[in-house]
Symmetry: C2
Subunit: 154 residues, 2 copies
DNA sequence: TATGGCCTTGGAGTGCGCTCCAAGCAAGCG
DNA sequence: CGCTTGCTTGGAGCGCACTCCAAGGCCATA
């Protein structure tokens, strides 16, 4: 994925149960839809905008995805969850296509993303604290409300 | 904010330096822009779609925001960071307007949001792990690359 | 042979969250 | 008075990330 040389990215992904072994890894678009949760429209759109490396075709011109493609889609899915714009992911894909001399730039892009993710987690934890305070306020208020009703009734 | 009764939400916010004391809390839209980072367009749009409680007006019809409004905007800002759709925030605002009998529903909405935020944090930490693996891969690859250059040169 | 299912394409459409525009009003200043 | 600044409004427009459409090809089964 990251490398066009023999030195490939061996740190890619944990094993997936539905995957076929190397050599027989040829999935139709609808299989990939089932695996990833993306729509076929989105998969084709990713290709159009340059977010996918070249995808193999059958003799009738239909897409045939490889394990490598699935790995890439996993990464894209993760990056998408961080809120990274698609344009930035396309940039990363371009760097991968350009070869090993872009290692440095890829490194920096990932580092920046990492910092963004850390900041995002911090923001969310901040928000969580606010939510927790509000939730316990409402829990207390709810108890008081129930109590008042009982007192009025009794 | 949460309550129309005397039992108000006392757990709202840490002190903000730029705020004026109760009684003199009357901010123009451009002041609120400076405080919140939102645009005036967005502030007016929030009002149009029902995301703001009623905002005071000056004798000439200009908006005058209160500390209470700023607290509300802080909360909205936090919820926005969680990715909560604006429509859901509008729903929450409606519940607040409807009065104390919606406490239960507000509680549930916040609880659901809390769970979403926890899930989101977990996703991001997952992504962080992937990024860290890739980053260390590129760090190693970069070192190897430098070494090769040196060997060729030497 | 025909019917259905799965796939192909370029291009148009959608929903969200803003973002901006045109036209106009009120206040302050030289 | 004219000019600038800051605000008002309804409605149109924009960018992103899809999402869908129309029209058609290939092929297996009845």
């Amino acid at each position: 994925m990251e490398s066009t040389s023999t030195r490939t990215d061996s740190c890619a992904a944990p094993p997936h149960p539905h995957r076929r072994p190397a050599g027989q890894d040829s999935y139709t678009i609808s299989e990939v839809v089932a695996f990833t949760g993306l729509t076929a429209h989105t998969l084709r759109w990713y290709e159009r905008i340059g977010l996918m490396p070249h995808v193999d075709r059958s003799h009738t011109g239909q897409r045939r995805y490889s394990n490598r493609d699935l790995d890439w889609l996993d990464l894209v899915g993760k990056l998408r969850l961080t809120g990274m714009p698609v344009a930035d992911m396309v940039r990363y894909a371009e760097l991968v296509r350009e070869g090993d001399h872009t290692f440095g730039e890829r490194f920096e892009l990932l580092e920046t993303t990492r910092r963004d993710v850390l900041a995002r987690i911090a923001e969310l934890q901040d928000t969580l604290a606010v939510l927790d305070r509000k939730i316990s306020f409402y829990a207390d208020a709810g108890r008081l409300y129930e109590q008042e009703k009982t007192e009025k009734a009794g």
